[in-house]
């Protein structure tokens, strides 16, 4: 018994200086996720979608490439091209990433409550925030690992199918896009975690998160259109000003949705030709020489979107964190 007590001692000193709890919890979460059925199902779904879209896209690109030798950043089109009704890799990730976030976060806290493991967990020598931090980090690590692996596989397939390698600029854009996607997934993970703190039943919190996801991804355009027409109506024979006003309201409202922010940022990051996410009139592009932007300029264009997404992610996580810290441990 004394030997055991001595064995505890080094760990004890470590705990006092900085808490190791969140790392232990994150490690367990990663292990749990990797072995879970939900992970296997989602991985299969995402992988199938990705590989399918890449095959379709690379087939299309060959034709384009034959016609236009000088197409800018041909390689990135593996990710963005969408020929013949098959959605592009980007569209698929934009659609599925929230699902991944929700799937790994919806039962983070109420799952512990349902299993009655929460009181035992917080009675260990860890801080209470280690629980929620560890869960968030663990979930995010798994999703980011999956997305990184998929992106690399897609890039590899692209290299094989097209026979060209990415330039440094293209690789940088992919990396920037991965970071952006991690932030976006982090938002959904934090959002689902928030509901798992608020709601006692995992099924309810999953439903809430998924409904919000559906509303934001499927109905945003429709709802925004409705509101914009009410705020800035477009008469039968509109002036340019009226049409523009309506378009601006639509754009402004749409940017309240993280899905729209992500989409805008993605499009700009992976298409060097795109110079703005704002409204462009034909007279503004008239006579413009199409030339690709360098990566830092592209980043500058969508910096507000990126910061907005990061802020949403932080706000959601902070809300989950504060509520969890204030909650009573007993059910």
């Amino acid at each position: 018994m004394n030997a055991a007590r001595r064995a505890v001692a080094p760990g004890v000193a470590g705990v006092r200086e900085r808490s190791i709890g969140w790392r232990v919890i994150a490690a367990k979460e990663v292990a749990d996720h990797l072995l879970s059925t939900r992970f296997a199902v989602l991985l299969l779904l995402v992988a199938l979608a990705a590989v399918g879209s890449v095959y379709a896209a690379s087939g299309g690109i060959r034709e384009i490439a034959e016609r236009a030798q000088e197409a800018p950043s041909l390689f990135l089109q593996v990710f963005t091209a969408a020929p013949e009704r098959v959605p592009s890799f980007l569209t698929l990730v934009g659609f599925l990433a929230p699902l991944l976030g929700v799937a790994f976060g919806f039962d983070a806290v109420n799952g512990e409550r349902a299993q009655r493991t929460l009181p035992r967990l917080v009675a260990q020598p860890i801080r209470r925030d280690d629980v929620i931090n560890g869960k968030f980090v663990g979930g995010l690590a798994v999703i980011v690992a999956v997305l990184t692996a998929l992106t690399l596989i897609v890039a590899g397939l692209g290299i094989v199918r097209l026979g060209i390698t990415p330039t440094a600029d293209e690789a940088g854009r992919l990396l920037a896009w991965l970071v952006l996607t991690a932030v976006y997934v982090g938002f959904w993970l934090a959002f689902a975690t928030l509901w798992s703190v608020v709601l006692r039943r995992a099924a309810t919190s999953a439903l809430v998160s998924i409904s919000v996801w559906l509303v934001l991804t499927l109905f945003t355009g429709f709802l925004v259109g409705l509101v914009a027409d009410a705020v800035a109506p477009v008469p039968d024979s509109p002036t340019v000003e009226e049409v523009l006003r309506n378009a601006r309201v639509q754009q402004w409202l749409g940017r309240l949705s993280p899905a729209v922010l992500y989409e805008e940022a993605t499009v700009v990051l992976l298409n060097p030709q795109i110079r703005t996410v704002g409204i462009v009139l034909p007279r503004q592009v008239d006579q413009a020489i199409p030339s690709p932007l360098p990566l830092d300029q592209s980043l500058l264009v969508v910096w507000p979107q990126i910061v907005g997404l990061a802020a949403l992610c932080v706000v959601c996580f902070a809300a989950a964190y504060v509520l969890f810290m204030r909650q009573e441990i007993r059910a």
Partner: protein, 323 residues
């Protein structure tokens, strides 16, 4: 004398208008087994959560091993093992994996941890089931795994919330025996809460009776019985021999309060006494040449004591002691 393991002074917890714990003054000596008894909702779990720093007291203070759990919760939680009410585990993981996770959270790793986990599983009798998923465990096994889990950190104080609830009588006996052994072998102080007095009275050195957030009685079970005017022991005795001589022998026993004849059988008597007069009774009858046919201790007086303090009926089927 060492400082007490647990001290509370005026410990109070309010949830809005509801007073869950009302000015609790309690002192637990090192190495003792203390039973916190009371009906559901009396404030036992709230008290325990305050002792662990998992809930902040509204008023008053607590000291666990000399530490304030509100200010230094990590240190307290490092030295106090806790088995919650209806303890839960990660069902997909095996018993051993669950304990390993707890060990890591306590900064225990590698070979030392594995060895310790194996020996704890052995102690609680779960070696054979150690590598089965916890979802296959019975309630009694989960409770024992809970105790092993709390012992991973080699605690100086062990707190068990309702350790005997919802397990079968055999499981109860095993769990209580385990608690007694832990206390004896490790010298750990044990605080256990229960609403079933008759189940835990055999292991508790002292008990505190808790009702509506207040401690209404504190002391040894027999002391409490004496103070409440309830005999500590009621014996059913059957003796072969002259009834007059039997009655005289029974009335001469130390601490006797009442001797009555059981109407159904002329040889049967009911004796109520403070303390436990059984050794004296056997000796007295033998000296007088009377033959003892039957001797049984009734458990009713404990229920009576319990009801007296709580003034509410025990749920039907809670049952008598199984001794």
């Amino acid at each position: 004398m060492e400082e007490p393991a647990v001290v509370t002074r005026g410990l109070t917890k309010r949830y809005g208008d509801l007073v869950a714990v009302d000015h609790l003054d309690l002192e637990l000596h090192r190495g003792e087994i203390f039973g916190l008894l009371g009906p559901n909702g009396a404030g036992k779990t709230t008290t325990i959560l305050m002792l662990l720093g998992l809930t902040e007291p509204t008023e008053g203070e607590a000291r666990v091993l000399g530490l304030d759990p509100t200010r230094r919760p990590l240190e307290v939680k490092r030295r106090v093992g806790y088995v919650p009410d209806a303890v839960g585990f990660y069902d997909q993981m095996t018993g051993r994996q669950n304990l390993r996770f707890t060990a890591r959270l306590n900064g225990l790793n590698g070979f030392a941890a594995e060895e310790r986990i194996a020996s704890l599983l052995e102690q609680v009798g779960l070696s054979d089931a150690a590598d089965d998923p916890v979802e296959t465990y019975s309630r009694g096994m989960r409770q024992r795994l809970g105790i092993a889990d709390a012992l991973v950190k080699d605690p100086e104080v062990l707190i068990l919330d309702e350790p005997t609830v919802a397990i079968d009588p055999e499981g109860v006996a095993e769990v209580l025996e385990l608690i007694r052994r832990v206390s004896r072998e490790r010298g750990a102080t044990v605080l256990l809460s229960s609403h079933l007095l008759h189940q835990v009275r055999t292991v508790c050195d002292r008990v505190g009776i808790f009702a509506a957030g207040r401690l209404v009685a504190l002391g040894r079970v027999d002391e409490l019985a004496a103070r409440a005017g309830v005999a500590a022991t009621t014996l059913e005795v059957a003796v072969d021999g002259d009834p007059a001589r039997v009655e005289e022998a029974l009335r001469a026993l130390p601490g006797v309060r009442a001797v009555e004849r059981d109407g159904r059988d002329p040889r049967r008597w009911v004796v109520a006494a403070d303390g436990d007069p059984r050794p004296a009774l056997v000796r007295a009858l033998a000296e007088r040449g009377l033959v003892l046919l039957h001797l049984e201790r009734r458990e009713e007086e404990l229920d009576a004591l319990y009801r007296r303090y709580f003034r509410e009926a025990e749920p039907a089927g809670a049952g008598r002691g199984t001794r």
